[in-house]
Amino acid sequence: MQAVRDLYGDFIRTFGNVLFAVLLFIVWGLLTLVGVIIAQGKDPATYFDSYAAPIARLILRLDFNNIYHTPYYVGIIGLILLSLAVCTFKRVIPARLPPLRAVAIDKIPLHASFDAAGDPETIRERIAAFFRARGWNVRKRELGGVEWTFADKHNWARRGVLVAHAGFVIIAAGTTIYWAKGFSGDEAIVTGQTVSVPHTQTSIKLDGFSYKITPIITKSGMVYQPIDYVSRVTATGNDGVARTATIRVNHPLDVDGVLYYQSSYGFAMRFRVTHDGVRVPALMNRDYLTGDAIDLPGTQRTVAFAQFVPTVDRLNGVPSADPRVNNPAVFLQIFDSGQASGAGLVPMKSSIDVGGGWRVTPERYLLVSGIQYTHDPGVALVGIGAFVLLAGLMISFYLLPARMFVRIDPAPGGSRIGLAATTVKGYDIFERQFNDLAAALGTKLIGDSSG
């Protein structure tokens, strides 16, 4: 039993220590930095290309290629939340909301004392009036036979830390809801096609896609600047009613709480495939996306649609950087039994001889719209948490809760006043104000008593 109590005590001491929290922050920061420096979610081969083999292996073994979803990344945030909870209850609340208590005035770095004419009771009233007039909250207590006056400024702002910490917890809750209940994905939709979106009852038909690109001459050469991407769609949601809509960058479409975003575009191809001059019906009217391959029936041959080239320079036949369609061609790769056996840039409507009597002709291109979708039921909570956090920061940083301790003792010819101040951010930050206050109070009491 004692062992359990000791363990609990150690746990509370460790997790309730701000320096331990800082240590957790450092680990969190370093893990985050790893994810910034190492490209995330790439193909394993990419890491072997970019790093020495042992480092690449280490990256993959430690899941540094997908660090933000690793148990230790999630774990460190979990530990931060735990530490935050313990610290809040065991440290922040007791330390930030201290009871009114007697102090040894001259042990506190910010202190002053002076004598004033007048009996302690009158002086106490004058001091209370002085602080009240400056917006301080004044309370009086008799502690250990001594009359104390306590004046607090921005006392409620002592809770700013609690607000900031609560904001962080709310954000964490919002992201957890997404992990538990949200989903996202993407679909490449060819013009005229309809896709059913997984996880939902929704189907989206792409009626048309258009893009606008403007060539601009900059100081370092020609840049083809994209200006607009627009998908015109017909979306059918839960209610079965088809509605037309447009999806553009920064203007997502909401269907039954799932948001659809314009994310990319590309080109699909239709090919005419002939064998000994005869069209192969099985391969007609099929849409091929970049990377797809045509398997030639009854052979080991495949023809891969490697890339769509929107503009081939008419003078030299070389692909141009212009992404607008103007003299397009298709880059095809031919494989025989899995081995590359040829490749070529094939203009539209021209054909390429694939061998064995087979010919492939790029017949028609179709625009493809890349649509991303997300359903995130935690997003509102994250938003609220973010603003709560921000409010907490503002309260903590811009309002300085300070407490004045005033002790008044009878002295020959009047009263002796001892004054000390503490703040939640140490003494240096309050030194100037304290000196000003003490001087003003001294002047007032001495002035009043002499007047």
């Binding site: 800082v22 922050f25 930095l33 840049v223 994209p226 960058v249 920061l393 140490g426 240096d428």
Partner: protein, 289 residues
């Protein structure tokens, strides 16, 4: 499309750099000599440079009708302008002019670097065509600017701390050390620490709000408020460093030299987030020109 060279905007940029360079030199000499006339000369220069900079951004927007902060040229220009603005406000409030030579000097350097990124005017790519660009970018850039000012004070803190420590070891005072008298004319370490805290307390809420508005924009543009894109994670890293600063600063034993070091690291992380990610790491935010 015209490659709009707008003479007015470039003239204002040159005026700003000129004002900062002369102001910086005056304040650097002031740092060592404390001759009041140098300060009186530099204050109007700092103010004029800052006004010229905001004028330059405004002129560019008026002429091109394209939000000027969407490339490194414009955003660096705002960065320097806000850094000088924050500095001027703090300098008037806390008599911070002694540090002005370093702030204005850095501002001039960043501006000169900005000019190398001036590619002329380009319309924004679709994801940047959003009102969020007008909210998110100024917030983030202003937070960087605040951290630049806190960085300068932190470095001065550290210089003072280590020099005073070494003098104390040799049992000599700054007043008796030729060339080091300026140490005594600076505010005390405790006062410098409070200043750093106050400036970080401007930067951190701005960075927080910048990250929040960035997340809101991402939600509208890319479908998720947080994509672990290198830029947003680098900003999160800087945010964590400044959160560490704030937490250490609550402890008496850690306040001072250690928190000053954290503030220096924080600004280096900001510079990495600003330039390193834009220029070396590709991601959704790599809008180079």
């Amino acid at each position: 499309m015209a490659n709009g060279h707008t003479p007015l905007d470039e003239v204002l940029m040159i005026i700003a750099i000129g004002a900062y360079v002369v102001g910086a030199l005056a304040l650097l000499v002031y740092f060592f000599s404390r001759s009041a006339w140098l300060r009186h000369l530099a204050i109007p220069l700092a103010i004029a440079g800052c006004i010229a900079q905001f004028g330059q951004l405004f002129a560019r927007y008026e002429i091109t009708h394209i939000w000027p902060l969407l490339n490194l040229y414009g955003s660096l220009s705002l960065f320097a302008a806000v850094a000088v603005l924050i500095f001027i406000i703090f300098a008037f409030r806390y008599d911070l002019w002694f540090a002005g030579g370093f702030v204005l000097g850095l501002a001039a350097l960043f501006l000169a670097y900005a000019i190398t990124w001036n590619e002329g005017t380009m319309p924004a790519v679709p994801s940047l065509q959003s009102y969020w660009a007008k909210i998110h970018v100024p917030l983030v850039v202003s937070s960087y600017a605040a951290f630049m000012v806190s960085f300068v004070i932190s470095v001065l803190f550290l210089v003072k701390y280590y020099l005073e420590r070494s003098l104390a070891r040799r049992n000599v005072s700054a007043a008796d050390s030729p060339g080091l008298q300026w140490l005594d004319t600076m505010p005390s370490l405790a006062q410098l620490d409070v200043l750093i805290y106050r400036i970080v307390a401007v930067g951190l809420p701005l960075l927080t709000l910048g990250i929040i508005t960035g997340a809101m924009w991402a939600h509208e543009s890319w479908g998720h408020y947080w994509q672990w894109d290198p830029k947003e994670t680098a900003a999160l890293f800087s945010w964590i460093v400044y959160a560490i600063y704030m937490h250490l600063h609550t402890r008496n034993a850690w306040r001072g030299v250690r928190t000053a070091w954290v503030s220096v690291i924080g600004f280096l992380s900001i510079m990495f987030c600003y330039f390193g990610v834009n220029l070396w790491i590709s991601g959704l935010h790599s809008y180079k020109v």
